[in-house]
Amino acid sequence: MAAEKKTKPGWKELPEGDLIIGGGTAREFKTGDWRSLRPVHIKEKCINCLTCWVYCPDSAVIVKDGKVAGFNYDYCKGCGICEHECPVKGKAIKMVSEKEALKEGGK
C-alpha cells in the first residue's frame, strides 16, 4: 500500500502523552473545514448593526472600521446563527451550499 503523503507529525515526532506544549494553539486548529453551508455577506443590504458579530460563536465575523467586512472561513463552522439573527428584512447574510461555493471558486 502506498504511504499517504505525510502532512502531520508521525508518532515518534509528537510529544508523548497527548501533550500540547505552548499556548494559543487553538489558532492552528482550523475548524472551518467542518462547514457544509457558508455565510455570504450581501453588502448592499447590510445596515452594519453588528448583531451577527455579537452572536457568532466562533468570532468569525470580520469587522473593519465598524463595518462588517466578511467572514473568516478558516474558523466559521457554518452554523447559520448569523443569518438567523440578521434583523434586516430579506437578510443581509445568506447561507449557501459550501460545495456549490467551492465549485464557483470560493476559497
Binding site: 508518532w11 508523548e16 501533550l19
Partner: protein, 392 residues
Amino acid sequence: MAQQTRVAKTGNEAMAEAMRQINPDVVAAYPITPATEVVQIFAGFVADGAVDTEFVPVESEHSAMSACIGASAAGGRVMTGTSSQGLALMAEMLYIAAGLRLPIVLADVNRALSSPINIHCDHSDTMMVRDSGWIQIFSENSQEAYDNMLQAVRIAEKTRLPVVVTTDGFIISHGMEAIDILDDKEVKAFVGSYRPEHYLLKLEETLTIGALDLQDYYFEHRRQLAEAVKNSKPVIEDIGKEFGKKYGRAYGLLEKYMSDDAEIVIVAIGSTAGTAKAAIEDLRKNGVKAGLVKPRVFRPFPRDEMAAALKGAKAIAVMDRSDSLSGHEGQLCTEIKAALYDSGLKKTVLDYIYGLGGREIKLSEVEAVYADLAVAAKGKTGSGINYLGVRE
C-alpha cells in the same frame, strides 16, 4: 549491603509502610475491602505528620483516580489503593492515566468482581483492566508487595506509565509474615525525587494535557503508548536487578523455580506460586521433575522470556485465578499459548480455572495438577480446560 529490619507485616501493612517511606505528594483514595487498610494506615501516617502527603478523601474510586490524575498532571508523585469493584469503577480513569502517561502507582488487592457479590481473592479485577496501558506487577507474598511498591515508583517515573502492584485479597493482604524492610533513608535514596519534564504547575511553560484527539492524532498517541509499554520491559528488569544488588532480593519479569530441567511445569501468578513451590519440593524428593514459572509482570507480558522458560517442558499447566469467559480458557492461558505459538513450540497446555471468589487452593490440589501433568507428559491427554475445586 544496606541494613534491613525484620518485622511482622500483613500485605496491607507492608504496602502502607512502603507508601510511608516513599512519602508521595498526593494520595487520593476511597476505602474498599480488602484494600481498606492500605489507605487507612496511610491516612494515619498523614494524621500523625509522619509524611508530607496531601491526603484527599474522595466520594468514590472514580473520583480517587480522577484526583490522582489531576495531581500527577500538576507534577506530583501520586499513589492510591483499591480493590475489585473499586478498580472497576476506576476503569474509565485508568485508561486516561495511561493515555496521558502519568506515572501513578496503585496498590490493588485482588478480589473477585460481582456478581455474585464476594469480597475474597481472585484476579478478575486486575484482568479486567489488563488492556488499560498500566504496567501490572503481581506479588507472591508481603515481602514482594513491599519490594514491588518501591520499585513501582521508579518504573513508573522512568517509563512515564502508571503501575499497579497487586497482592491477593486476604491471603496476602491480611496474612501476617516476617518481612525485611529498608531504612527510611535508604528508601528515600532508592526512589529519589520526582522531576517530570512537563507538568501543569511548571510556571515557565504553557501546557495543555488531554486535548481532544480525533481521526488525525489519536492513532499516533496510542501507537506511542504501545511502544512505551513494550519498552518498559528492560526498565523493569534493570530496576529489579539494581534492587537485588542493593538489597539481596533480585526481580525480573518472571521467576523460574526449579523449571530449568523440569518436565512438568505449572505457570501461576500471585500467592498460588508459593503453594506450587511447596508441592515442587515434595515432588522433587520423590524424583519427579516438577517446576514452576511465575510471571511477576503480566503487562507487559514477558512473551519471549516465557517461551524460553517453557522450552524444555513436556506438559504445562496454567493456573488462571480468573475466567476470561471466552469459552476456552483464562487470560493467562491465552498468553502462554500465544507465547509458545510465536516461538514455534507445540506443547500440551492444560488450563485450570481455580480459586474464584477466594475458594481455597490446597496443596493437595496443586499436587493433583502435577499428577495430571505427569500423565499428559506421556501424551495420554491433550490440551484442555479444567475447573479445579468446583463442586460438580
